[in-house]
């Protein structure tokens, strides 16, 4: 297995995703929202981008931006897409809201040569502290919702994702741990990503031969 590249950064996940994508490649953004990321990828990386989004208003926003967008439910899979038909399939801040995360990750790695996944890290110390000390479902900047109206139904930690990939034959090519301030970047070095990072960002692909 190739060595996994790790980095701990301060920039937003958008900024990092944009630089992770090879210029001129093809990208499918699952849960593309109002298309801001796709727009940046087109402008800054000249990608051929397409999006999938379930929300009607977000789809219309994408249309206004001139993007190619398909209204659909990614939980139903990507049956309309051929194997390896995109260089990258992106799941940006979407993994925790879908019903069938394992299935969707399998699908994204079938359709894309590489997958880019980012999600809020539920193992973050503040999240843990809020539950441990307050005894209530944690609400943070990254997880601002009450338990009763949250779209997040499959919250996970960076540690969970690492185990998932190992068990499902998925190779992590790059792990990016996002933190908000330089202090935490230092702490992350000592205490580990799972406790300190606000978000995890991974470049993954199917492990060759599986």
């Amino acid at each position: 297995m190739r060595r996994r590249l790790r980095e701990n950064i301060l920039v937003s996940d958008y900024d990092r995703i944009v630089t992770l994508v090879e210029p001129g490649s093809s990208v499918l953004d699952l849960g593309c929202g109002n298309g801001d990321l796709l727009m940046r990828l087109q402008r800054e990386r000249r990608v051929r981008g397409q999006g999938v989004e379930i929300d009607q208003n977000a789809v219309i926003e994408c249309i206004r931006k001139g993007l190619s967008v398909f209204q659909g439910n990614i939980d139903q899979g990507l049956a309309d897409y051929a194997d390896a038909s995109y260089d990258y399939v992106i799941l940006n801040q979407t993994l925790q809201v879908i019903r069938r995360p394992a299935f969707v990750i399998e699908e994204m790695l079938r359709v894309g040569r590489k997958g880019i996944v980012s999600f809020p890290n539920f193992g973050n110390w503040l999240v843990r502290a809020k539950l441990l000390v307050g005894g209530r479902m944690p609400r943070t900047k990254k997880l601002p919702f009450h338990w009763y109206d949250t779209p997040n139904i499959h919250l996970l930690t960076i540690g969970d994702f690492l185990v998932f990939c190992r068990r499902h034959g998925i190779e992590i090519q790059r792990q990016v741990n996002l933190v908000q301030t330089p202090v935490f970047r230092l702490l992350l070095f000592f205490l580990g990503a799972n406790l300190i990072a606000d978000e995890g960002l991974f470049v993954i692909r199917r492990r060759p031969g599986t």
Binding site: S26, M39, Q42, R43, R46, R48, Q50, Q56, V59, I60, E61, C62, I63, R64, K65, G66, L67, S68, V69, F70, Q71, G72, D80, Y81, A82
Partner: protein
Amino acid sequence: MADAVPDVGLEPGSVGIVATQTLTVASPPDALEMDCGRRLGPIQVAYETYGRLNPRKDNAILILHALSGDAHAAGRYRPDEPKPGWWDLMIGPGKAFDTRRYFVICTNVLGGCKGSTGPSSENPETGKPFGLTFPILTIGDMVKVQKLVLDRLGITRLLSLSGGSMGGMQALEWILRYPESVQSAVIIASTSKLSPQSIAFNEVGRHAIISDPNWKNGDYYGGPLPATGLSIARMIGHITYLSETSMNQKFGRRLLNQAEYSFEFKREFEVESYLHHQGASFVKRFDANSYLYITKAMDYYDAAVDWGGGSLEKACARIRAKTLVLSFTSDWLFPSHQSRELVKALRQNGKDVSYLEIESTYGHDAFLLENPALTRAVGSFLDNLSEGGQVS
């Protein structure tokens, strides 16, 4: 060409008072070669235009009507005309097809009965109406005639074209047949081919007309019309344009002017009265033979067969236009999966296509009714095109 005249005190957003114009194309020896193998010409085409063609002639949008539509897509003929054109909600200053920016054209289809040559027109060879001697026509033939009209108007490339239902089939045919002549297309509540269920409904409608004793093998002009047959055809059509929910909301089981059942075979339910009214008013404005020819053209249409040897994916390879495909959740006549099939074929070819399934309870008719999401989606799509906002 005469433009629509604004400022005559009509409601805001109206294109104003309009007039249908006609021009003649395909005059012999350049008669139209039809898909059935016969030649037809000269062909008269009724059309309306709204807005102004810019000097570069690159702001033209062609609107394509559905089965029972006509060239009168927007505005009113007279200030007191009870209803405006059939897509007045979408066409006008500040509307989705913004006539302050775009030059909007709508033609009556070949085979129609609202000013364009069709079975009720006079056959120049006999001096009598064509009737069933009119050649069987296809969606492709309709589109060929529209292209001749645009050539005559000096428009070589359309900014966009759009239509719902059969209008969407024409839009698809346009971008397949003339890929270089269209920058973009909006295909609404439509399909690349009718389902057997839709063909079945069309056939019941046709059979009602043909079974009417007044139809007389299509040779009824000057005598009594096959009104009962055409009326039944329209009633069936109307059922398929609505949804179960919308019928429930609109009529429920309410009775007409009575509290109790009459125990007679007369019209008692509101829904019955509605359908009869729709049938009767249709007879006054539509020709039964046109109904036969146009529904047949819809039945025959199959973009995959015509352009891809049976494969829609292969057919779509030739498309150059940026497309927006829209469908409605409650439309069971042109269901969303048919739109998605088209979108899939376009995506498999890496084409620039967007798809939105709009929430609506109004069934197939939804594309003709007020719907903010429809207006916003179409308006946004066109804004982006004309602002050159897309990334090349």
